[in-house]
């Protein structure tokens, strides 16, 4: 509703009932309008303000009269007009979240109720500023619903100190929102005095959105400058394709780099059975680091035969069926071989060697040096197996490096904070995989090793509930399935109201944000996709950074041109 009242001086209505646990019932004043997710405030005893959110709107009748004798089509307009707000009225359910003091005290959870007939007003900027005040920088996440001129920010530190998630069905604006968050992260980090104070991202960019530019369907802009263009010196771009333009390096995986543990997450996409995984572990144990090269050979090598039949090798040529039978995996080894053949056909997988160590070393050095790394999948973006293999292998090894450094280090030497960004998160941390996946472990360990997640997903109900419960801050765009909505609101206080709010979100650029980084849920119109400098200036201001003059590449090389008339 575009005509929603946001004038703080004009009351929305009066409190006519309610409780702290079930929310307030507010009778909407005649001629007023309100919408789900809107902020409302009222006064309580002791000079306190109560800030809440409209979580439901219902049509009610005072008694049965108007519903038993409703005005008909032929009735005068006066009868309908009179019955509005007398015989029938509109009631708002307002969930009270915060109690705000007058003298700059910390906002506290709402513990008092307003008296009957207290006036309820739309929240104003001052109230929102007090409610969402942060000690440090904040990231603007948009305007609260129906309050286009106001702005809400999430606490930068709290957002990234625990894992966060962006959820929504396809086309709702997840990618633009994530780009906005990452842009803020890199902007803020670039101003940090030391590398260890920087928060950096390792982005597994499935659809090539976060590297050089983001292509999208929008009213004005179809290409949005992405992280590498916005932060040329603070972002590195890796690709899986060879010879990709603007790439700082290629990700190559040697067959010797792949461990059986790395195959666990590929069970579904590679159609690997439990026995095939067991066979992989057996092969690794028996044949060593080159186990994949060994089983990919047309015929078993003499080394394989020697290891399996030390004293009594069979007569004649040995084939893979015999090897499988000897190992105790007669069919599964064949199945594993076929799948490994499929896996290693990819351009970025190289046989008979180890390639990964250098890549890992380089990336870790970049990350701990304060640079964010974007891994672009190029044409492999639609290949879920490639995405999961690379994301899992890289993340596991980089996380181990962070863990080792954290465990060895004194506090002053602890590594900087790393946020790993993964798409299609439910594929990595579904109920069956959450135990094995490195991402499940990262989510569960919170910030123990300075590594957290930013997950992007369309199907949160498929994510392991334990992992989902560790997602600190949730950005929820429109979702179709009730299961997905239920999974997100879980056991959050006021969940039934939040469920209603999510169900009413519009299909684009509207998000319910709640959790660790915010004192209370907020429905926002998320920032528009734009390359405008004004938006960047606003972001820097919100992050507490001074405005920076953009330096052109030419000016960086040759210095700024002299002003006219300043010559000799």
């Amino acid at each position: 509703m575009s005509d929603t009242n946001t004038d703080p001086a004009r009351p929305l209505g009066v409190v006519v009932g309610g409780s702290l646990t079930k929310g307030l019932e507010v009778r909407l004043d005649p001629g007023q309008t309100a919408q789900l997710g809107q902020y409302a405030k009222t006064e309580v005893e002791g000079g306190l303000s109560l800030l809440g959110m409209v979580t439901d709107i219902t049509l009610k009748s005072v008694d049965s009269g108007p519903t038993v004798w409703p005005p008909g089509e032929a009735d005068t307009p006066l009868l309908r007009e009179v019955l509005q707000d007398t015989g029938v009225y509109t009631a708002l359910a307002v969930d009270p979240y915060l109690q705000l003091g007058e003298n700059g005290e910390e906002p506290a959870r709402a513990r008092r109720l307003p008296s009957h007939f207290s006036a309820v007003h739309p929240a104003d900027q001052d109230t929102l500023d007090r409610a969402f005040a942060t000690d440090g920088p904040s990231i603007p996440v948009g305007a609260p619903l129906g309050m286009d001129e106001l702005e809400v920010g999430v606490d930068f530190e709290r957002l990234f100190e625990r894992s966060a998630g962006v959820f929504g069905k396809s086309g709702t604006g997840k990618s633009v929102l994530v780009l906005h968050l990452l842009d803020a992260m890199l902007t803020r980090s670039a101003a940090a005095p030391t590398n260890s104070e920087r928060t950096v991202a390792l982005v597994f960019d499935m659809h090539n959105d976060y590297g050089w530019e983001m292509k999208f369907q929008g009213p004005t802009t179809s290409r949005l400058r992405s992280l590498k263009q916005r932060h040329a010196t603070d972002a590195e771009l890796y690709t899986l394709e060879s010879g990709a333009a603007r790439s700082d390096g290629q990700i190559l995986i040697g067959t010797r780099d792949i461990q059986p543990d790395d195959l666990e997450v590929l069970r579904e996409t590679l159609d690997l059975s439990d026995l095939a995984i067991d066979a992989a572990h057996a092969c690794r144990r028996r044949f060593g680091p080159g186990w994949i090269d060994e089983i990919l050979a047309d015929e078993p090598s003499s080394a394989v035969v020697d290891k399996l039949w030390r004293r009594e090798p069979p007569e004649g040529d040995v084939n893979w069926s015999q090897v499988g039978a000897q190992m105790g995996y007669p069919g599964s080894l064949e199945s594993l071989r076929r799948r490994m053949e499929r896996l290693t056909r990819r351009e970025f997988v190289r046989t008979e060697g180890s390639q990964f160590g250098d890549v890992i070393e380089h990336i870790v050095r970049s990350l701990q040096g304060g640079k964010s790394v974007i891994v672009q999948f190029g044409r492999f973006g639609n290949d879920l197996t490639s995405y999961m293999l690379v994301a899992n292998m890289l993340s596991r090894r980089i996380w181990e490096r962070y863990r080792d450094r954290t465990e060895r280090s004194q506090e002053r030497e602890a590594p900087n904070r790393l946020v790993i960004v993964i798409e299609e998160a439910h594929k990595f941390v579904d109920r069956s995989l959450a135990g094995q996946s490195i991402f499940g472990q990262i989510a569960r360990e919170l910030r123990k090793f300075n590594v957290t997640l930013l997950v992007i997903d369309q199907r949160p109900s498929q994510i392991d509930p334990e992992v989902l419960s560790q997602i600190g801050t949730k950005f929820t765009l429109q979702l179709d399935s009730d299961n997905d909505v239920d999974a997100l609101v879980g056991n959050v206080a006021g969940r039934s109201g939040l469920r209603q709010v999510i169900a009413a979100l519009e299909s684009k650029r509207q998000a319910l944000v709640f959790g660790h980084a915010l004192p209370m849920p907020v429905v926002v119109q998320t920032p528009e996709a734009t390359n405008a400098d004004s938006a960047r200036a606003s972001l820097r201001a919100r992050l507490g950074l001074p405005e920076r003059e953009e330096t052109s590449p030419a000016a960086a090389l040759f210095g700024a041109p002299a002003p006219p008339g300043d010559g000799p």
Partner: protein, 194 residues
């Protein structure tokens, strides 16, 4: 209508007023009247109107030739008018106390034999007070649906451009007062804006 109407019986809830003789055009049903004498200015709404012989034991006998109008019969029999009288019943709906209009019953009845006038448009709007004059009016059993509807219509007309907002406000007041009688509310509002 130039005849003078005066209070002939009064209480704090209602008064009767009568013309000196019969009049064919008395104050209308639902019209708001003012008594501007006494300590308070008293306002009321006409709830009943009756014309007939002063002496009930001497009923009026039909006279006149076929096709002759009432005015012509009266003109031909001037003695009849002396025996007839028009009286009105008025439900009090408000008063003015020291220039403050109050849509409630006055502390005391209007003086007997005080002159009764039609309230001015401004007085009607002030006393009606967005429909609050309906509270004392509805409390009077004589104010039936037709009276209430006519009274609301009359004030709306007096309010001019503000007539529609007044109708809605008065309707809402009525809805509150008649919340237990939705069918009555419906019939009054239908009569207000047919």
């Amino acid at each position: 209508m130039n005849e003078t109407c005066r209070v002939v019986a009064a209480s704090v809830r209602a008064f009767d007023c009568a013309y000196a003789r019969y009049t064919s055009e008395p104050f209308a049903l639902g019209q708001m009247l003012a008594v501007r004498e006494g300590r308070y200015l008293t306002f009321g709404v006409v709830t009943g109107s009756e014309s007939g012989p002063d002496d009930p034991s001497r009923p009026l006998v039909p006279r006149g030739d076929p096709g002759q109008s009432a005015a012509a019969v009266m003109a031909g029999n001037p003695e009849i008018e002396l025996l007839l009288r028009t009286t009105l019943e008025v439900a009090i709906c408000g008063h003015v106390d020291r220039e403050v209009a109050r849509p409630v019953l006055p502390p005391m009845p209007p003086p007997l034999l005080a002159e009764v006038h039609a309230a001015s448009d401004e007085e009607k709007v002030r006393i009606a007070d967005e429909g609050r004059f309906l509270v004392p009016l509805l409390a009077n059993p004589a104010a039936d649906d037709a009276v209430v509807a006519a009274a609301i219509r009359e004030v709306a007309r007096a309010a001019g451009p503000e007539g529609r907002p007044f109708l809605v406000a008065a309707g809402k007041e009525l809805a509150r007062l008649l919340k237990a009688e939705p069918s009555r509310l419906t019939s009054i509002l239908r009569a207000v804006e047919p």
